[in-house]
Amino acid sequence: MNKITLRNALILALGVLLQACSGKASLLPAQQSGDAPPLPTARSFLVPPMQVPRYAGWKQGQAPQVTAGLRIERIAGGLLHPRQLYALPNGDILVVESNGPGSEPVTTPKQLIANKVKNLSGKGRKGGNRITLLRRNGTAGGEWEKHVFIDHLHSPFGVQLIGDSLYVANTDAIVKFPYVAGDTQITAAGMPFIDLPATINHHWTKALVASPDGSKLYVGVGSNSNITENGIDQEYRRANVLEVDVASAGSRIYASGLRNPTGLQIEPHTGKLWAIVNERDEIGADLVPDYLTSVQQGGFYGWPYSYFGQHVDGRVMPQRPDLVAKAIKPDFALGSHVAALGLLFSDTNALPEKYHNGAFVSEHGSWDRSPLSGYSVVHVAFVQGKPIGAPEPLVGGFYSEDESQLYGAPVGLAQDNDGALLIADDVGDAVWRVTAASP
C-alpha cells in the first residue's frame, strides 16, 4: 500500500469518526415541549454528544438571573450538596443534603472515563447525608437560621410529613421519625418503615409524596441503568412508582416504565399524581425529551422498550412488542436532556400572576447535550388540571455565557409560607428564594 492511499484511508476514517462524534442539538427545549414533541430519528454514536461545564461555584454577591418582575435572594449557603426541599406547615424549610451512595461498581471501561468527565461539573461531590432545617429569623432579608435537623442518613432524597410522622426516603429504605413542630433537631433514631430497591443504585434518588388523604405514600424509584445495560434482572421494582400503604407498610407497583421519576407531586385541582421523568441518553442530543406526566394506576410508560409511546429503542434485547403496544404517551415533554429534578405545583404564590396555577420544574442540566440545555427553573401553566403552552423559564444564569463554567444547578423546589419559590442549588451549595420584584 502506498503512502497516498494510506493517507486517504486515514482521512476517511477520521472523517467518519468526527461525523459520528458530532451530535449538536438542533431543537430548543421549547421547540420540543408539549404533548406532541418532534422526535428525530435515533442515532448511534462512537462518542455520544457530551458537554460538561467545569465547576466554578458562585462568587461573593453573584446569584442566578431571574426574568423581569422577579427578585432573587440567597437564604442559605455553605450547604453540603442540597438536593431537595420540603416546607413544613410551621414555615420551617427542610433541606436534604445528599448525593449518590457511590455504590455503583465500575463494570465497563466507559464508566472509568465517563465518571471522571461528568464529575468535572461539581454535580458528583459528596453529599451531607443529613437534613438541615432553615428558619426565618424575624428580620426580613438575609440568610435564614440553619440547624442540623437529622444527621447520619444514607443518601436521602424524598421527605414527607404525615400527621406527626416524618418519612425520609433514604436510597435503600424509608425511615420514619417522630416530628414535633418547632423543634430544630430530631435525635430519635429513625424507625425502619419499608425497604426500597438498593442494588447498584445507578439512579439513587427515591422521590416521595403522600396521597391527599395521607393513607398512601408514592415512591419514585429510578432505573438501574440508562437502557438495561446492567441486565434486565437488575430492574426489579425499578423505573416504577411504588405505592406504599401507610398503615400496613405493604407496597405494590403503582405505575411502571418511568425511567427516572425524580419528582412526584399531587396536582391540587384534580388530586391526581404527577411526576417528572428523566428519559434515556445516548441516542441523540434531541432525544429523548424528559417529561411531566400524570401517573395512571397500572400505567406503563415505555421504559426500556419504547419512548414517547411506541418509539421502539433497539438497544433493548429481548424486545417486548406486547408492552410497547400498551405504552402510554406522557402528557407533556419538557425538552431533551434538561434533567428535570424538581417539581412543585403552585396555585397562588408571591410571584406575578402568570406564575400562578401551574407547575414549577427545575432542570438540573445533563452531560449528554451540546449546547447545554436545562440549568433553569421553568413554569408550566395548567388549565383544568392539564399543562398548556411552552415551559417558561424564570430562573437561569447558572453557567457562564461561554458555557465553560458552572456556578450552580437547580434541584429541589418548595414554596415558603409567604408564597416565595425556594430553589435548592446542589452545585452552588445554596438555597435561593424568588419573589415578585415589587410586592
Partner: protein
Amino acid sequence: MNSRDVPHRSTLANAIYGLLNPLPFGLFVGALIFDLIYVRTAGVLWNKGAAWLIVFGLLIAVIPRFINLAQVWISSRHLAGRADKLDFWLNLFAIVTAIVNAFVHSRDAYGVVPDGVWLSACTVILLSIGHIVMAVQHSAAGMSAHE
C-alpha cells in the same frame, strides 16, 4: 520478522516483542467469541467482557507495535522484507479497527450489535492474515536455508 535472520536487531526488543505481540491477538479473538455469545444470549456480562478485552488488547499492543514500527521502518529497515511490511500494515489497520470498536463497545446494551461484532471480526481477520503471512515467510526462509 525472522529472528534467525536478524542478528543486528536488539535481543531485548525481540524478547519483549515475542512476549507481548501474541497477547492482543488472543484478547481480540476472545472479544469476538464474547460478542458472538452476546448476540445469541443478550447476557450483558458477555458484552461488558468483550469491551474490557478490546481495551486490554489495545493497551498491551502499544509496546510491540512500536517495536515493530521501529524494526520495519527505522532500525532494521534493510532487513525488512515485503512480508514484514505487509504484516505491519495489517496490524495497523487491525489496531485502528479495534480503536473504533472500543468506542462502539461503549454503547449501552444491544446498541453494540451488529457494528461491534463486524469490527471484532475485522480485527481478528486482519491479525490472522498477518500471522499467516509471517508464518509462511518463516517456512519459506527455513526452506531456503536448507537448500
